[in-house]
C-alpha cells in the first residue's frame, strides 16, 4: 500500500499551533534568520518590551545569568530559529465549491501552523472568483481566519479564456492581483487585451505560464523517466514558449507581473534576462520542485503528480541556485486534494500536494543537506513575495511589533492530529520527520 497517501481520513478542524503572547520578555540563544532587518543570520538575544522589539544582542548567553528581575519571561531558545512570519502567493484554499478537499478555515489554519501571516489565494473556486460578489463572500468568511487571505481575481469570466472579467470592480472589491491560474488563455489577441486592460487598473498579474497545446494530455516531464514509464510528456518548451510570449506582452503593456511555479532552468534564464532588461517581473518556484525531481515518479506514485511536472535534477538544482542567489522566491504550491482524487492510476489522479503543514520540515531536509541556504529560504518566503503583495514591513526591526516564528528541530509525525489541512495528500504522512514551527510569538 502507498505509505504517503492518507487512507485513514477523518476530517477535523485542528488548530494546534501554539501562540505565545509576550509583552515583556527575553529570548536567549536564538538563531535569527532575518534577511531584511536586525541580525541577518546569527545567534543572540532578542528583547521584547511593551510588545515591541527593543533590542537585539548578538552572542550566546547563559540562561542562569539572565537578569530575571527585568523581564516577565525569559526563554532560552537553545539555537531554535527566529524568523519573520511568511507570505505565500498562489494557494488553493478550495472554498467555495470544493470543501471536500479543504476549507478556508482548515487550509488557513495549516498555513498558520506553517508560520505564515498572509497568503494570496487563487480564483479557481466554484463559483470562480471573477465577480465582486464572490470576492466579497470570501472576504467575509476570511474575517474570522487566523491570518490574512488576499483574493486574486480571475483574468477572464469563469476562467474560460474568452471574456475579460470586471477588473476595476474586482480591484475595488479588494483583489490584489489578476490571474488566469493554470487555465488556458491561448487566444493571443485576447491575452494582449487582458494585459492592456490590467495595466489601466494598476493591478498586478500572476502568470502560471504553460502552452496548453504543447502540454497536451501530458502528466509528466517529457524526459527519460516519462519515456521509461510510458507517461505522456509535457515538454519544457510548453513552459518556456509561454513565458516568452507572456514576457513580450509584459514588455509591450508595462504591467507588473509575477511568474509562478517555474519548473525549469531555462525558464529561470528567461526571467532573469527580462529582469536585466528592466522589466517589472518577479518569479517563484514551488517548494516541491526544489525537493523532488522526475525520478520521484518511478513506481507511479500519484502523490508526485504535480503541475507543472517535476523536471530533471539539473532543473531542480538550477532553481535551488536561483533561490540561494535571491533571484526567485518560493511558493508553497499548496493544493489539498481529497483521497479519491489521488487514489487512481498516475495519469488519472489529480495534481498537487497539501504542504502548509509540512513545508518547514521539507525545507529543513534541503537545508540539512546543505542544498538550501537557511537565510535564502527565509528571504524567499518573506521579502521576495512581500514585494508582489505590496507588503512593506516584512523584516524584524527595533520598534516593530513582536510577531515572529520560533522554529525547532522537533521530531514529529504528520497525521490527522498534528496537521490542519483537510487534504489527503500531505507528503510523508504518518512518517517521522524533523523540523516544525515550535510556536508563534505575538505581542
Amino acid at each position: 500500500m502507498d505509505q504517503d497517501l492518507d487512507s485513514d481520513f477523518t476530517p477535523t478542524h485542528n488548530q494546534p499551533t501554539k501562540v505565545l503572547t509576550v509583552k515583556d520578555g527575553l529570548f536567549l540563544n536564538g538563531r535569527l534568520l532575518n534577511p531584511n532587518g536586525i541580525g541577518t543570520d546569527n545567534v543572540g538575544s532578542l528583547t521584547v518590551k511593551n510588545g515591541v522589539i527593543q533590542q537585539w544582542q548578538p552572542g550566546r548567553s547563559i540562561a542562569s545569568n539572565a537578569p530575571v528581575a527585568k523581564h516577565d519571561q525569559i526563554i532560552d531558545l537553545q539555537g531554535q530559529w527566529l524568523t519573520p512570519h511568511f507570505f505565500d502567493i498562489g494557494a488553493q484554499l478550495r472554498e467555495p465549491g470544493f470543501e471536500h478537499k479543504g476549507t478556508l478555515t482548515s487550509e488557513s489554519n495549516a498555513a498558520f501552523a506553517g508560520g505564515f501571516q498572509g497568503i494570496a489565494m487563487l480564483p479557481d473556486t466554484s463559483p470562480v472568483m471573477d465577480s465582486p460578489a464572490v470576492v466579497g463572500l470570501i472576504q467575509e468568511r476570511a474575517k474570522h481566519l487566523s491570518l490574512k487571505v488576499w483574493p486574486m481575481a480571475a483574468m477572464t469570466l469563469g476562467l474560460n479564456g474568452t471574456q475579460l472579467s470586471e477588473m476595476f470592480a474586482l480591484k475595488a472589491a479588494g483583489c490584489i492581483a489578476i490571474t488566469q491560474s493554470r487555465r488556458p488563455l491561448s487566444n493571443n489577441r485576447l491575452a494582449l487585451r487582458c494585459l492592456e486592460y490590467i495595466a489601466t487598473t494598476g493591478l498586478k498579474v500572476l502568470f502560471y505560464s504553460e502552452d496548453h497545446e504543447l502540454a497536451g494530455d501530458g502528466c509528466a516531464h517529457e524526459g527519460p523517466i516519462a519515456d521509461r514509464l510510458g507517461l505522456s510528456g509535457i515538454p519544457e518548451c510548453a513552459e518556456t514558449t509561454a513565458i516568452a510570449r507572456d514576457l513580450l506582452m509584459v514588455e509591450r503593456t508595462g504591467v507588473t507581473a509575477h511568474f509562478g511555479h517555474l519548473s525549469s532552468a531555462r525558464s529561470l534564464e528567461l526571467i532573469e534576462d527580462a529582469q536585466q532588461k528592466g522589466l517589472p517581473v518577479t518569479a517563484d518556484v514551488a517548494l516541491t520542485h526544489l525537493i523532488y525531481d522526475e525520478r520521484a515518479l518511478l513506481n507511479f506514485n500519484p502523490q508526485y503528480h504535480l503541475r507543472p511536472p517535476l523536471r530533471s535534477n539539473f532543473d531542480r538544482k538550477a532553481l535551488l541556485d536561483g533561490v540561494n542567489r535571491g533571484a526567485i522566491s518560493i511558493s508553497i504550491g499548496h493544493q489539498p486534494q481529497d483521497i479519491a482524487s489521488k487514489t487512481a492510476p498516475f495519469s488519472e489522479s489529480e495534481a498537487g500536494m497539501s504542504l502548509y503543514d509540512v513545508h518547514i520540515s521539507m525545507a529543513k531536509l534541503l537545508i540539512e543537506a546543505e542544498q538550501l541556504n537557511p537565510l535564502a529560504w527565509v528571504k524567499a518566503l518573506t521579502t521576495l513575495p512581500a514585494h508582489f503583495l505590496n507588503q512593506t514591513s516584512v523584516g524584524l526591526n527595533i520598534g516593530d511589533q513582536a510577531a515572529f516564528n520560533v522554529i525547532s528541530d522537533e521530531v514529529w509525525t504528520p497525521n490527522r492530529q498534528s496537521c490542519c489541512s483537510l487534504g489527503g495528500n500531505i507528503p510523508g504522512f504518518k512518517q517521522s520527520t524533523i523540523g516544525r514551527l515550535s510556536y508563534r510569538v505575538s505581542a
Binding site: D227, G230, L231, D293, P302, A344, P345, S347, E348
Partner: protein, 333 residues
C-alpha cells in the same frame, strides 16, 4: 531528494509476487519463465489439454481496453491450468457508471478472486492495482497505457530463443511507433536483460524516443540503415490516432518510407526472422508478401503466447500460495 521504493512485483526473496513489468527483473527471472513455458508447450498435444496447477483458483480478466488475442490466450492459459475463469466486461460494469477503479477492485476482491489479469489505458494502472490489492492476490499486467506489456515481451523472447537459440551477439531492430508502444518498452527491457547489445529503434523522429533519454539502443530514422544485418526485425502496429495527432502525415507515406517490404527485408540477414505483436495492418507497416512470407514468425508468436502465459500465471500463483502458507504458519505460531 527522491524516494525509491522496493520493486512491488518481487517478494523479499526475489520471487514473482505480481507480473507488472520486465523492468527490474533479472535474466534468471526471464530464463526461468522461458524454461517453464517449454514444459507447458506440449500440454496441447495431450488428450486432455489441462494440468491441475491452478485447480480451485479463480482468475479474473479485467480488461478496460479491447483485446482479442491477448485476452483469448490468457483465457486458454488459465483453462489449461484448470483455473476457474471469470471475465469482467468493463463496458457494462460499474466503472462505466462512474465507480472508481479502486471500488471495482474492492468488490472483486470480496468475491475471493485469486488473481487479476488487467489491461488498462493508463500507464501504471497495474502498479496502482498491485499497490492497493490485498496480500495474497496476484496481478498480471496484460498491458497498461504506453508503459508495459510484459507477457507479450516474454512470448517474443520465447520466439527469438526458439529460432535463434541464444541472445548474445544478436542484432535486433524494432521498427515503428516506439514512443507510444508498451510492447516496445517491454521488448527493450527484455532484450537488454537477455544480453542483446546491438538493439536499434527505427522510425520517424516523431515516433522515436528523444535523443539522450538513455535507452539501451541506437536510434535510426532510416529503415534500411536500421535493419541492416539484423537477425531479428520486430514491427509495431501503427495506430490511426497518430495521424490525427500530427505525428505522421498518412498511412501511405508511412508505408512508402517505413513499411516492411520484401525489398527492404533484403537489408536484414538472409535468415532473419520477422515478428509483429499483432494485429497487423497490411499495407501500412507490413506488406502482405512479408507478413505471409518465409521469414515471418508472427503466428508462432501467438502460438507460444499460451505457454508463456501459463508459465507466468503459475509462477505468480505459486508465490502467492507460498506467501499465504507462510502467513498462516506465522499465525499458528
Amino acid at each position: 531528494m527522491t524516494e525509491h521504493r522496493s520493486d512491488p512485483q518481487l517478494t523479499d526473496a526475489g520471487l514473482l509476487r505480481h507480473f507488472l513489468t520486465i523492468d527490474g527483473l533479472s535474466r534468471q527471472h526471464l530464463t526461468d519463465i522461458l524454461n517453464l513455458a517449454d514444459s507447458f508447450l506440449n500440454v496441447e498435444d495431450r488428450t486432455i489439454k489441462k494440468v491441475p496447477l491452478l485447480r480451485g483458483k479463480t482468475v479474473a480478466t479485467l480488461f478496460f481496453e479491447n483485446s482479442t488475442r491477448t485476452r483469448t490466450t490468457f483465457d486458454l492459459a488459465s483453462k489449461r491450468l484448470s483455473a476457474d475463469l471469470i471475465h469482467i466486461n468493463i463496458n457494462t460494469s460499474s466503472t462505466a457508471k462512474g465507480e472508481t477503479l479502486i471500488d471495482t477492485l474492492r468488490n472483486l476482491e470480496a468475491m475471493a478472486v485469486d488473481m487479476f489479469v488487467v489491461r488498462h489505458g493508463a500507464s501504471g494502472a497495474a502498479h496502482f492495482i498491485a499497490n492497493k490489492v490485498s496480500p495474497g492476490i496476484g496481478i498480471i499486467n496484460a498491458g497498461d497505457g504506453c508503459h508495459s506489456h510484459p507477457t507479450q515481451a516474454m512470448l517474443d523472447m520465447y520466439t527469438i530463443r526458439h529460432f535463434k537459440k541464444q541472445f548474445t551477439g544478436l542484432k535486433v531492430a524494432i521498427v515503428g511507433d516506439i514512443m507510444h508502444s508498451r510492447v516496445a518498452r517491454s521488448q527493450i527491457h527484455a532484450l537488454s536483460c537477455m544480453g542483446v547489445t546491438d538493439l536499434r529503434l527505427v522510425g520517424p523522429q516523431t515516433l522515436l524516443p528523444k535523443k539522450g533519454h538513455l535507452w539501451p539502443a541506437t536510434l535510426f530514422t532510416n529503415v534500411e540503415e536500421g535493419i541492416t544485418d539484423c537477425d531479428v526485425v520486430i514491427l509495431l502496429r501503427l495506430q490511426k490516432e497518430r495521424m490525427v495527432a500530427g505525428l505522421i502525415p498518412n498511412e501511405h507515406e508511412y508505408f512508402r518510407y517505413y513499411g516492411m517490404t520484401k525489398e527492404r527485408m533484403l537489408h536484414a540477414k538472409p535468415d532473419a526472422i520477422l515478428m509483429h505483436p499483432g494485429p497487423i495492418n497490411r499495407g501500412v507497416e507490413i506488406d502482405s508478401r512479408v507478413a505471409d512470407g518465409k521469414q515471418s514468425v508472427i503466428l508462432d508468436q501467438t502460438h507460444y503466447g499460451i505457454a508463456i502465459r501459463m508459465a507466468i500465471l503459475s509462477s505468480v500463483m505459486d508465490t502467492q500460495v507460498k506467501t499465504r502458507q507462510s502467513r498462516r504458519i506465522g499465525y499458528e505460531h
